[in-house]
Symmetry: C2
Subunit: 216 residues, 2 copies
Amino acid sequence: MIVSILGGTGDQGPGMAMRWAKAGIEVIIGSRQQEKAVGVAAELNQELGQELIKGMANPEAAAASDIVAITVPFSAHKPTLESVKDHVQGKILIDVCVPLDPDNVRKMKYPEAGSATQEAQALLGDEVKVVAAFQNVSATELRHLEHDIDCDVLVCGNDRGARETVMELVEKMGMTPVDAGLAYNAPIVEGLTAVLIGLNIRNKVKGSGIRITGLP
Amino acid sequence: MIVSILGGTGDQGPGMAMRWAKAGIEVIIGSRQQEKAVGVAAELNQELGQELIKGMANPEAAAASDIVAITVPFSAHKPTLESVKDHVQGKILIDVCVPLDPDNVRKMKYPEAGSATQEAQALLGDEVKVVAAFQNVSATELRHLEHDIDCDVLVCGNDRGARETVMELVEKMGMTPVDAGLAYNAPIVEGLTAVLIGLNIRNKVKGSGIRITGLP
């Protein structure tokens, strides 16, 4: 299985790439600028001591992978999706983006579709299985490969099989996935990120997260 | 300090009332029907072995208390607030209501104001300090007085002092409060309830909850 991470040179991409690569998954880091993707992939491979991660421009990364994750700032959400639309048809798209208010990152500024996830689904069409995941996981925690992350991963989207595949990918990273149901829950799953950013700021920490309790 | 619980004869009210009463807080259970409130209060007092809880009609309960909590089904949110509007001026109102979709309780159906909390603030005016709290705590867990509840309580609202007072009331119940910031976060705090209801249904449990991790 090959997983690409569009905008993978940003905050969350490198940690996700490293954790998947260490679990034996082929990873492609995508970026608007191919050189940047190649450079970050080279740095991560050096840290891994193996050539496990490739770097490509976003459209090539999407075309070359079975599952596509997108981790761009929300201002780049639509243009990035448009640039890969033809290359993700029939695939799972993992949307990690959060529509934060650019003037106040402790606050959401929801798009008309309701959430990034629902916007992606509307833009890409019904043949793409869009699944929301990983928004609430601290980038700092993700990058600290040596310790476990004290955060569950809420997974939601309209295709049950796609949710299950993404939940397996969460487990590969050593985290606990929680099936958070259909895409109408995405505004809540994404919105928790704004709450956690506010908690990080108020408490002067970088890694607040959530756990779901009371499940069997 | 006297705390009233409007709609306190419902699912969450009795557990909240018992836990506060056991912590030494005077509690008034409110209901549309005074007799019903008096009856539930009598049952709870019998269980407590002491006369700690009173029952009144909602407006009298609001008038007689320092802090007013509302736990009615969302269909009764507006009419109940209108019935107590004059009696809550200058007080803290703890909004525990969740605007669930009546056709699908795993889904939110947000009011125009954005959330129950924001609707209450708009309806009651600026002299009332509206604070969202307790939505995510399982009614079943609340009612089992003998064990601790494995769920944090997210508290949000625009008045910092009011949030702090409510956080103390959370601690009195033996739970951990988390300052979730301003009222614009209420759609997320309330929305988590729909996610947890979905988890309860899918996992055939009654008491899923959330914990915030990574705080000092």
